[in-house]
Symmetry: C2
Subunit: 134 residues, 2 copies
DNA sequence: TCCTGTATTGACAATCATTATCAATAAGGC
DNA sequence: GCCTTATTGATAATGATTGTCAATACAGGA
């Protein structure tokens, strides 16, 4: 059930590659625009599909920006969380073992099964701080 | 700047009340539907505005469901987080002092200012677990 | 209590991200 | 190379949310 009838296309590679190039999280629309600006003729719907695939496979993280857009990022290893600059989008992966454990504990203590969690920290990075003083 | 020119209307009360009655998180559309079903003639846009107001004032919490809808819930006290059943929407407020502190520490350690965070735990509540066995 | 200025409302249009549709294309096993 | 069918992409459709703006009704003063 992993990839029984999956086919490899240059479109999927393009999306995977573009996502790898991007710094921080990017939306599908934005990624599509980047690809087109680089000469690609890839379609918007395809970018959406490819990103959803990558996220499903586990090769991409996804989160929702505060205005409702779904953002993606190339996923290096396994499960982790992010510290995101709300101004420039700079992203740092953070260790959250303590919190992982805590989340599961809380869920189980209340009788909830299959716990998942959303843990993201937003802030203004140092670069944007100095920039905004002006 | 708190409420210099704010007026009280039955619409705002209706939304506040309906939100109080609701169990767990509800979307604006859903709340609007409930109000109409109860005979109210309130407009959809007004529900959106009232909910946004409540959230801004601090009388309501908001979070985004996994399909992009913004959900609201009457807010009892100050800052807290939630454990939400992804099936029935049952919500429990959880204590997260440890995590609060951790989030701020992490942000500051990386030079990020004005940290805010999104911490929500999703799971299947015990009631829904037994229900889904059938 | 009545008047009046204006915050607020509500119907509807507009926006924006995302998903569905479906004919045309191309990946990959033979 | 051929054939099956997964995949693409242009476009329409969806669904939540916000903008518009004339009509309405709250609230303070006469």
């Amino acid at each position: 059930m992993t990839d029984s009838k999956r086919r490899n296309t240059w479109q999927k590679d393009a999306v995977r590659h573009a996502l790898g190039e991007a710094t921080g999280f990017v939306g599908a629309q934005q990624l599509h625009l980047v690809l087109r600006n680089h000469g690609s003729t890839i379609g918007l719907a395809t970018v959406y599909r490819a990103l959803a695939d990558l996220a499903a496979i586990g090769d991409a993280d996804s989160l929702q920006s505060q205005d409702g857009e779904v953002l993606y990022r190339a996923c290096t290893n396994s499960h982790h969380h992010h510290l995101i600059c709300r101004n420039c989008g700079l992203t740092k992966e953070i260790e959250a073992e303590r919190v992982e454990a805590w989340a599961d504990e809380v869920a189980e203590a209340q009788g909830f099964s299959n716990p998942t969690h959303t843990i993201d920290i937003f802030g203004t990075c140092s670069a944007c701080q100095s920039r905004n003083i002006a």
